[in-house]
Subunit: 306 residues, 2 copies
């Protein structure tokens, strides 16, 4: 056969798996293939490029500089190829083959799963992909193309534009501590000076490109960073720190006496608007369906009433 591109997307997937899993053997396992098949694929790739991608001295193969460059560029190529596929499928059917939804950690997953359940009755063949994002991560996912729709984005959207947003509801945040935490018995309202003496628990922003955001931290305050709000809730129940949590998330803990709401000099609660947003240029029936459902949800008072 004539002129070959020198690389194939399959080969780049193999290379990516090797890099992520750390060995040919582990990559083979992930790809449901035998190790010699992976060896064969890499050998073919090196042959067609005329380039050595792995340093095989020692019994663990390590990427050469060229191998690392190919891995990096190859991942971009795979991402682009994925976009090409999904775009073609969308144009062909009007329906997205896959819709990627970034779900802010303030959003109750049951509501999202209810929506997905209803959606699958309408379009069972469309794949849905949910990811959980913390703080600015939902915006980040949207503007960097990792998500088509963000549900539960908070604060101001990034200045780059290119997306459309609508309000979904409001979330009430309450300042809570464990009943055995020293602040539990302190007279209200708690002052900043008093709060600052105790460690805060913060959920890590899942942004990758945008600057990470922090909310509710006082200057000079020690911080225990956890991955998401649920773990933050558990850490605060253990008395490992203090901070704000959405009332709807901790209503049960409060009723059970496992968390105590304390008024601070900022008041006993604050309210934030929660948005859903989508990439303005994205067109497809699946996204349209979700927009309509979320618009209805927003009209009925949203998802955050406790």
């Amino acid at each position: 056969m004539n002129h070959k591109p020198g690389i194939s997307l399959d080969a780049l997937l193999v290379l990516d798996a090797i890099a992520r899993r750390g060995s040919f053997a582990a990559a083979a396992e992930e790809l449901h293939r035998v190790p010699s098949s992976v060896t064969y694929a890499i050998h073919k790739l090196e042959e067609s490029l005329g380039v050595t991608l792995f340093d095989r001295r020692g019994h663990r193969a390590r990427l050469t500089a060229a191998g690392k460059a190919l891995l990096r560029d190859g991942r971009d190529l795979l991402t682009m190829a994925d976009g090409v596929v999904r775009n073609v499928q969308r144009i062909a059917t009007g329906w997205e083959a896959e819709l990627r939804i970034a779900v802010g950690d303030l959003v109750p997953y049951e509501k999202v799963l209810d929506l997905c359940t209803a959606f699958y009755r309408v379009a069972p063949d469309t794949r849905l992909r949910l990811s959980t994002e913390v703080l600015g991560g939902a915006w980040d996912a949207l503007v960097t193309g990792r998500a088509d729709l963000a549900i539960g984005a908070t604060g101001e959207g990034p200045p780059s534009g290119g997306y459309t947003l609508r309000p979904l509801g409001e979330v009430e945040f309450v300042f809570v501590v464990a009943p055995h935490h020293p602040l539990a018995d302190a007279p209200e309202p708690l002052t900043h000076d008093l709060i600052r003496r105790y460690r805060a628990v913060a959920a890590a922003d899942s942004s990758r490109g945008l600057p990470p955001r922090t909310v509710g931290l006082l200057p000079g305050q020690n911080v225990f960073t956890v991955p998401d709000l649920n773990i933050k809730r558990q850490a605060q129940k253990r008395g490992l720190g203090v901070g704000y949590l959405p009332r709807h998330l901790v209503a049960g803990d409060i009723a059970a006496g496992e968390l105590v709401v304390k008024a601070t000099e900022d008041g006993s609660s604050t309210r934030h608007t929660i948005y859903y947003a989508w990439r303005t240029r994205h067109q497809g029936e699946a996204l349209l369906w979700f927009k309509e459902q979320l618009a209805n949800a927003g009209r009925r008072g949203g998802w955050f009433s406790s």
Copy 2:
């Protein structure tokens, strides 16, 4: 085998060939394959995408909207893949597998070919690819990534930056007309008002992304646009129009009496600096070699003495 990307670069090459040649049969010929192999490849592509790419009513297959979208996006993907390959090969060897040179139409090709001849004695395995660019086309080729090196770029480089330039020499432009052209007998210096009454011959800028440039045209003047300077020279010899041409290009025509130099109110000639430029971030032994040779050429007085 598990998860496939849905497309392959091979398949995109086939699709591209079909579109460029206009039929499956012609594409098969270009790819040195039998027609049923092309039919098979497209069928496999449609199957893996779950999308119909060709409308087969009538006996000539025509691209559907999804097919056109895939063609367009697929060409971008192939271009990117090509860049990935060349980048990896360059990192692996220090030498580029291929060096692409945009040659401005003012540059005498013999000089460029002399350089290439010498280069091939040093690095016979590196592929060289020359393209001829007119006016701003050399800059355009450089900044859009169609070329690694531009020889004979004129005027100011585009504001985007990202390239480094050095002077190669100066070109003297003279205003010439055919001996039987009405302006040949007009008293010198020719005024703008007089020149404007006659058609100009202009070479079309080969820029694809940058705004096209024009040089030496008077407001309101009729213009006969041709593809390059050589055809411009031939058109002017035929008396089809007037305009500036590089002295080194027309020295023989002048000596033979086939073109006449006329002084204008701007003087009898103008001089422009000619540059060579490269993408600043590009690293490779082949580019380094050419830079050194061009630096030497620039030091010795350049390539444009007549």
